[in-house]
């Protein structure tokens, strides 16, 4: 009888197993991040696809996008799509109501069509900057599409005569500087002042040295060296302004091992932080060299997110990587594929609040991703850490560790605030678990001081007492010997 009961209980337990729901969002991609040793750690999906739409969803009569190249969301929420194949810029709002289709502008009574525009930027005042690539100019329009001015090939002494001004991307910072990425210009980003005068180049990419090639150069004749490919820096791929008026840019790295994201300060110097240097800001840390979806990540577009976060789009595998202000990889989502939430030929990303839009040139489709509980918690924790709300941040990090125990940044986050509180022993545990060795070392040093301050008085007291007793004993013995002798 008892045996039967046990069997019944066991069977009942077995039944419940089937209903245990896996704690995973139903996504076609696997979220992951990298730990201290650049080993891949699977994580819950941080973002899931919420909706996707094409030109037909915006307006049924709108011709579908052909080779769209850029997407821009301006502060009032309007979405600009550069539909390069149809030589136009399509503007609609977030509820998908068509607002404008800009195909060109009137100047002196004549209509001038765009020719293969590639990038668009809208200033907070509503001025629209269109990089009109094959017309070799940047057209500046007002918010109704009326022509204001244009930026054309700079005529300045000393500039390369052969320069063809084919602007790809344009950004206007709050000081009114216009920064332009021009096709096949390797010197840097072209910098124009508020009146459209060329000022100089902004930001440069360091040329990576290949020691093997340098070694071979020793054995080459001058003629051979002349015929060699020159060491030319790669081109800038994209730009984004962050809330501190710094410029995030990406450039391709042929080896996939160096940082591909740069953060340029107003002087054009790269100031990106990458605390854990074993994980560079270059997308995937390891990749297949042959086969499908092989090769290093190519970060072709970048957007600045609030609180120092930066999100970049990889064209090799279609993944979207988000880093925090210290260069830690927070989450990865999307990928190559045809299922909802995957892309075939992603070209640009943009952000609306905490949502992220990916522009897929394959079907002229835009996919909107929205954060899951996990992703929202990460964003929230980063926000609270940035504004200095330690208590709130710790709460968010703790909830994150409950969702994803392998997320090092969460443990390190708890540890850091414990360190700030002065709870050094506990901080050591959390920082060690989060592999934040820099702060672990600090916590350790303070903890060591605490321990020493606690025990040293006792040690010295006991030590002094022992020495005193020893001296007393010696003197006593000496005196006794004297007495015995006498």
């Amino acid at each position: 009888m008892r045996f039967k009961k046990i069997v019944a209980v066991l069977l009942a337990m077995l039944l419940t197993v089937g209903w245990a729901t896996p704690f995973l969002a139903d996504t076609p991609f696997q979220g992951y991040t990298y730990n201290y040793w650049a080993a891949l750690v699977p994580s819950p999906a941080a973002y899931v696809p919420a909706r996707s739409f094409t030109a037909a969803d915006v307006c049924p009569t709108l011709v579908s996008f052909v080779d769209p190249t850029d997407i821009h969301v301006c502060p009032n929420g309007m979405i600009f799509i550069v539909d390069s194949g149809n030589h136009r810029v399509v503007v609609f709002d977030q509820r998908l109501n068509l607002l404008h289709v800009i195909t060109g502008f009137y100047r002196d009574g004549e209509f001038e069509r765009f020719n293969r525009p590639n990038g668009v930027f809208v200033t907070p005042e509503g001025e629209i900057f269109v990089a009109d690539t094959l017309n070799e100019r940047i057209a500046v329009l007002d918010s109704y599409g009326n022509f204001i001015r244009e930026i054309v090939t700079p005529e300045i002494e000393g500039l390369d005569e052969r320069l063809i001004f084919r602007p790809l991307y344009v950004v206007v910072d709050r000081g009114g500087r216009t920064l332009v990425i021009v096709q096949h210009v390797f010197e840097g980003i072209m910098n124009f002042d508020a009146t459209g005068q060329f000022v100089g180049y902004f930001g440069t990419i360091e040329v990576g040295r290949n020691w093997i090639e340098i070694f071979w150069r020793f054995f080459m004749t001058d003629r051979q060296i002349q015929n060699q490919n020159r060491f030319i820096p790669t081109e800038f791929q994209s730009m984004a302004l962050d809330d501190r008026n710094f410029v995030f840019t990406t450039n391709l790295d042929p080896w996939g091992s160096a940082n591909q994201i740069m953060r340029l300060n107003p002087r054009g110097e790269d100031v990106i932080l990458n605390i854990n240097e074993s994980v560079t800001l270059s997308g995937d840390q390891r990749h297949r060299t042959i086969g499908s979806l092989a090769g290093p990540s190519q970060l072709i577009d970048v957007i600045a997110r609030p609180h120092g976060k930066v999100t970049a789009l990889d064209s090799t595998r279609g993944r979207v990587y988000t880093y925090d202000a210290e260069g830690n990889l927070l989450y990865v989502f999307s990928g190559w594929g045809s299922i909802e939430g995957m892309t075939r030929r992603p070209v640009a990303i943009e952000v609306i609040g905490d949502d992220i839009l990916i522009l897929d040139a394959h079907m002229g489709r835009i996919i909107q991703f929205t954060p899951t509980e996990y992703g929202a918690l990460i964003n929230e924790a980063i926000r609270l850490r940035d504004i200095g709300d330690e208590a709130g941040a710790v709460d968010a990090w703790r909830r994150l560790t409950a969702l994803d125990e392998n997320f090092e940044l969460a443990w390190a986050g708890i540890g850091r605030s414990m360190l700030a509180e002065g709870n050094h022993a506990a901080a050591m545990y959390y920082l060690r678990r989060g592999m934040d060795l820099i702060h672990f070392s600090i916590a350790f040093r303070r903890h060591r001081l605490d321990v020493m301050q606690n025990i040293l008085p006792t040690v010295f007291t006991v030590g002094t007492a022992l020495i005193g007793l020893f001296i007393v004993y010696k003197i006593g013995k000496h005196v006794r010997n004297r007495v015995v002798e006498a």
Binding site: W37, L437, F440, S441, I442, R448
Partner: protein, 212 residues
Amino acid sequence: MIATVKRVFGFYSLPLYIMGRPFAGFYAMKYEHQGTMKIAFLNFALVCISYAISDQYASILANDAHPLQRNSLFGMMMILGALLLFSIANWSVTALTDGEGKLKDIIMAICYAMTPLVLTIAPAAVISNFLSTDEMGLYHLLMAAGMIYFVVLVFAGLITVHNYGAIKALLTILLTFVAILVIAFLISLLLTLWTQLFSFAYSVYTELMFRS
């Protein structure tokens, strides 16, 4: 002198004596037959154990290797392999250049020279647990000092064992590294050929199995 050391440290006196007086010590080891293989193996085993202790128990700030990539047993095998490879290569070179040392002498000399490693590696690992990142220089200093002392002692040991001058000893050591490359090449060649032979035999076997 050696008698005093012996009275204090007993059977482990010669390795310690070598640290202070390398030439006299190695001379005593070889020509006065004071050195034994037992003590040499003891020294080697102590180095292996020290390595394992350092690998497992040094502070995370001193050794931040991935836990899954810490394989103390493999590390010990590497130490053994390096010892054997260097000894055999050195022996094969010195046998041709009038070296007086036998293979046993060479191995013994290297093992006796390991005393500084025994004395530094494990204590450095212990000390590292009391140091923060800024102070970790002390740990690295200890490790480097032990290593440099070891190399110097090996050099002195080889000079004594082979009855060489300094220049000749240096040259033979350089040649030893060439010999190591040759041996490594031969081993890899042998492995490749062996694999091919094995796969051939295996395919013959499978062929026979399919046909029967």
